[in-house]
Point group: C2
Chain length 370, copies 2
DNA sequence: TTACAGCATTAGAGCGCTCCAACCAATAGA
DNA sequence: TCTATTGGTTGGAGCGCTCTAATGCTGTAA
């Protein structure tokens, strides 16, 4: 249970501690003979460097802290993948902590992360107040993902929710829909831009917006549909604030004897793994999640290396993924239009996405910096 | 960008560094006067202790490392919640790292975690070879979740997959099913116990097992159903190896014009959030995930405090959650039996679970140690 | 020969903290 | 009176490492 130290390795290799240190850090100014001797001794003792002692002595850190507001949401997992990829490339390690969507717990997580004195911090959709972020930003570089900030020392990476909503509306309009409602995300992150984008796009097409108050859950989506049904105000197409909401809406529609997409089209938002399930096969808006992570890591490392001082505000383009929950409206139907579960046969792993999906996954995503 | 040290606080409060240290650690042997003076100075300077220096000096750590094999799987998020709960209670912090289901990356994650010299490590369903775990176990206490081990210094927490499968089979048999197939999880973790439990339970009822080779994905579930259909070997009930597989199976059944549960009943395994969606409403087997986390943390802390040296092997009882994908078989049907989407109305957040579900969520879960 | 590079190597200070032994009243006991 | 005892406080060593400046050791030029 006791790990060997640099001293032990030095003794065994017959050199000084400082020399071992140089070898461990891959310094070029070590003779090949000594280097192999040291590495051999280290190997034999099972030595591995003590990261904390190292960072204490060097007053630098090769650790990036990542605060994930909600581990239950697979959205963040892909962002972390992107962060990890870049960090590893650049010789940095990441440590993760979670806030469980509670400001108090998140604050604690932040404090804990800070106590390791990482080189920088990436916060994924944090719910702590802006002042807390500002205070932390005085101590180390911080990048925010899926949350905006006005602090000039903080970089941000977001998706363009307005554009995403516009893509969805354009898709539905091009199918022939004229009555398109939006199930709104209320106070949820990014709900604002999505709502604004929806309204702007609807009006750009000369149509009338219909915003129904809802939330980011499947139960809320179902509730919203039931209220539309009881008001007799059901449109021919629905743009939900996210995928969960959309799935709830679909359930409520089917419960009421309506078919999706024959009677009503539904579009989600986020392209979660849920949407890709063949049982669901939801038309939705994809965000380049891994790219979020990569850009966040790159931005953070620039700050860490003091290569940049002006803030960077990445606003990424979402893309439309057409699956089986959208079709022309019933009145204007001819014969075409994908049906739910119409792609029965075929052994491919794919879930019947159209080409828009492969586009969604293409790497050459543009990023609009401003 | 430069944080104050204990020295700064001591200077400002007019005391020694050692006294500040005592205050920071909440020692009782400090006069009230000095204590408030120190806390005031710390507050004014925005001081917070340097976790790494502390752990270096004290040769102890209040950090528990958690290696999550796959962040994309919400299963682990709930386990982490359980760990976090206990750790926080006991004054420990956790840091998380992820292995992305790749042995190489996982190994790196392990190495990174180890370099922080945490008090102990919890590995969630690790895929690294047993030898790597054994080697790490020589350096610090380790607890494995959702993976077994024979190493006597390693504790484990698992669910009783055999019992879970038995619960599912018993449920289906009690509904009147006689032909029940198992879509097998192949090489996947825990697939073995589930398969064994299925076979044992089927034979205990005097029936004939029918194991269909499959995997832990929805595409694989659909594929398995199609092969059953083309062989003309479709049973009246399916026990899938997990929820994703079950959802894929349901899709394929519906694609073939069969109704679930009227024509075929389907049971999943894991009770993921997916299963609880009203659109899916899958009958499944629930594992007490948060309890996994809690027990793992408790076991680890016992080792950390050297309160125990014999290994502990928790084997938790899973429970059945009845939703809307199981019903009596078509031939023996009378009138009862829940139908898919039969619980249309009602604004509750619930998803139409029967009482078995509330039982599933009850806290008084037994744990069978051996 | 001496001087001086140039390179590999090392001693030693110090990173921010904890911990131990020592210290210093102030009080209690003999 | 002197000696313990107690509670609060402090200096200093040291955790495992990095970093700077200094050291020794060639080889080459003067």
């Amino acid at each position: 249970m006791v790990r060997p130290t640099m001293e032990d390795v030095a003794l065994r290799a017959g050199v000084s501690r400082a020399l071992v240190s140089l070898v461990m850090r891959g310094s070029p100014k070590v003779s090949e003979m000594r280097r192999t001797a040291v590495l051999k001794a280290a190997e034999e003792l099972g030595y591995s460097p003590h990261a904390m002692a190292r960072s204490l002595a060097s007053r630098t850190s090769t650790v990036l802290g990542v605060m994930v507001s909600d581990l239950h949401n697979a959205f963040f997992a892909e962002v972390v993948d992107g962060i990890d990829e870049v960090a590893r490339e650049q010789g940095f390690d990441i440590i993760i902590n979670t806030g469980g969507r509670s400001p108090a717990r998140e604050r604690r997580a932040l404090e804990s992360l800070l106590s390791f004195r990482p080189a920088g911090l990436i916060l994924l959709s944090p719910v702590v107040p802006a002042t807390a972020i500002g205070k932390a930003a005085e101590q180390l570089p911080i990048v925010l993902v899926a949350r905006s900030s006005r602090v000039s020392t903080v970089d941000t990476v977001n998706d363009d929710g307005e554009q995403g909503a516009r893509l969805a509306v354009d898709h539905l309009v091009s199918l022939g829909h004229k009555r398109i409602a939006h199930l709104d995300g209320g106070e949820g992150t990014q709900a604002g831009p999505r709502r604004r984008g929806y309204i702007a796009a609807i009006e750009a097409h000369g149509l009338t917006p219909q915003v129904v108050s809802s939330e980011y859950t499947d139960a809320a989506g179902a509730r919203a549909i039931r209220s539309l049904l009881s008001d007799g105000a059901l449109p021919t197409a629905i743009l939900s604030c996210n995928d969960f909401n959309a799935v709830g809406a679909i359930s409520a529609l089917e419960d009421a004897g309506l078919r999706v997409p024959q009677d009503v089209s539904v579009v989600g938002y986020d392209n979660t793994s849920l949407a890709a399930l063949r049982h669901v096969s939801l038309t939705t808006i994809d965000q380049p999640r891994a790219e979020f992570g990569r850009l966040a890591a790159v931005a953070l490392l620039q700050r860490v290396r003091e290569e940049r001082t002006e803030p960077v505000r990445h606003l990424l383009n979402p893309s439309l993924v057409v699956r089986n929950t959208t079709a022309p409206p019933a009145t204007s139907r001819r014969s075409s239009g994908p049906l739910l579960s119409s792609t029965a046969a075929g052994d491919s792993a794919g879930s019947g996405d159209t080409t828009a999906d492969s586009q969604a996954r293409s790497p050459e995503r543009r990023s609009r910096d401003q």
